[in-house]
């Protein structure tokens, strides 16, 4: 899957999870950039991403994501 396609789909997931039509899944986006992004929303986001891309993340993958670029990299390795 092309990285632009991954980011486009991620943007759609982010907008749905955070209920924000302005949000864009940029590689450098982190939890501290999004006010709503707490530990609850993080798990909700991971679930939505798993459903959107038909992938499963391991426990360490869920915890060790530093930014959206990491998330995209893990998705890329699984699809």
């Amino acid at each position: 899957m092309e990285s632009t396609e991954i980011y486009d789909r991620l943007t759609k997931v982010f907008r749905e999870v955070f209920d924000d039509d302005e949000i864009v899944a940029r590689p450098d986006l982190t939890a501290s950039d999004v006010e709503e992004w707490d530990s609850l929303k993080h798990v909700r986001l991971i679930l939505s991403v798993e459903n959107a891309f038909k992938v499963r993340f391991s426990a360490s993958e869920v915890s060790n994501l530093k930014n959206v670029a990491d998330l995209a990299k893990v998705i890329q390795s699984k699809v």
Partner: protein, 479 residues
Amino acid sequence: MTIASFTFLGFALAVVLIYNCFSSATWRMWVLLLADLAFLSTFSHSVSAFVPLTVFLACGFFAVQAMQRAHKEASYLWIIGGTILAFIWLKKYTFLPHDTFLQFAYTTLGLSYIFFRVMHMIIDSHQGSLNQKVGPLAYLNYTLNFTTLVSGPIQSYPAFIEQHLAPVRPPLTIIDMGNGLERIVVGFFKVNVVALVLSMIQNQAINALSSSQPLATRALTGAIIAATYPVYLYYNFSGYTDIVIGIARFMRIKLPENFNRPFSTDNFLEFWNHWHMTLSGWLKEYVYNPLLKSLMRRYPSPRAELSLGVIAFFVTFFLIGIWHGRTSEFLFYGVLLGIGVSVNKLYQVKMAKSLGKKQYKALANNWMYQALCRGLNFTFFAFYLLWFWSTWKDLGKMANTLGPSAQLLGWSLIFIVSTIVLALWQVVRASVFRVQWEDQPFILSRYVRTVLDTSLVFVLLVVMELLNTPAPDIVYKAF
């Protein structure tokens, strides 16, 4: 061998020198293993005392091997369940029948931390995220590492291997050695001076407490007993962590940090992100996230999100509590942690809803509100730690001696004093860091640090000579 002793420093220095002599990673790992075994052997002279720990380690190793070979779900669940049960049984949790326990003396030193490391390797091997092949030498060094055996921090296996088996080792510069030495000095000072003095103050207060004291004196004595322990625990635990982080620096190993100014945080959740960070990080990774994920999968409605989050928080913090000890006091400690985190989360959500996000954010950034929250955070920490360091019997005795009025006065005093002291500390710290020199805070310049560290060494030696009392051992040695 106590970590905050000159004997341990001498031992660590010898290990560091020999370890750094070898350019071969395999040889270094053998040196480390010999050091681990030598360190472990100082805790018991009986070979049979190490048999249960050896069997636990062997089972853990074969479990990791099995998971790396095949990720079978059925055997994985049996292995996870068996490992947890073996840990509970070896630690002699009091809810298990006493007759089932081994009836000879054996060491469980560091078992709690070994358990976390083994569980991490089993889970990650099963989920396919532990790509490195785990050999017996690396496994033993990772689980028994003499620097992190007694008090952590909990480092992940990939991070451990990456540093110990690095084909090109990072240089050991004079700055690295200076930083390492500084951590050791600060750690020694925290344990042998601050923690020692605080434990003496607390013991004196416990001995002085009497129903014949006037109400105000009794309340003050009670406040001293409850409030000194959290500070003592911080200096004891973080001091030991500083020492091992400093020693590891000389081996070109960067251990993860366990503390980040916890008393500066202004809510329960944030506190645990800054206190024993590697423990809370581990539980977040392997309990909170997976549990919440499976709950959300089962109940996908966003309206259930908060309730599911509270359940996951409660379970995680309850487990933090009962991991610390095997008696009913720790069970209650876990319940208090669970209640604390749940109330904190519900309060945040409720406030954001009733005030609006912007208003609540503004309130949370208000210095007065932050100061009060810090004080409340500290007071609650002091309260639930009562079940960490005491027993039902002693707590009952203290409560009876104090009486309801002195208890109320005592807790109010802790809240007021901690609010003021922590607020002043924020102001003083910020002012000190504002003084700049050569584009950095003056306090962080190497000249100032050299003077400060030298002063610490001087005070440390004087206090050790004067008091001639061994510092309390690491609190976590029992876990």
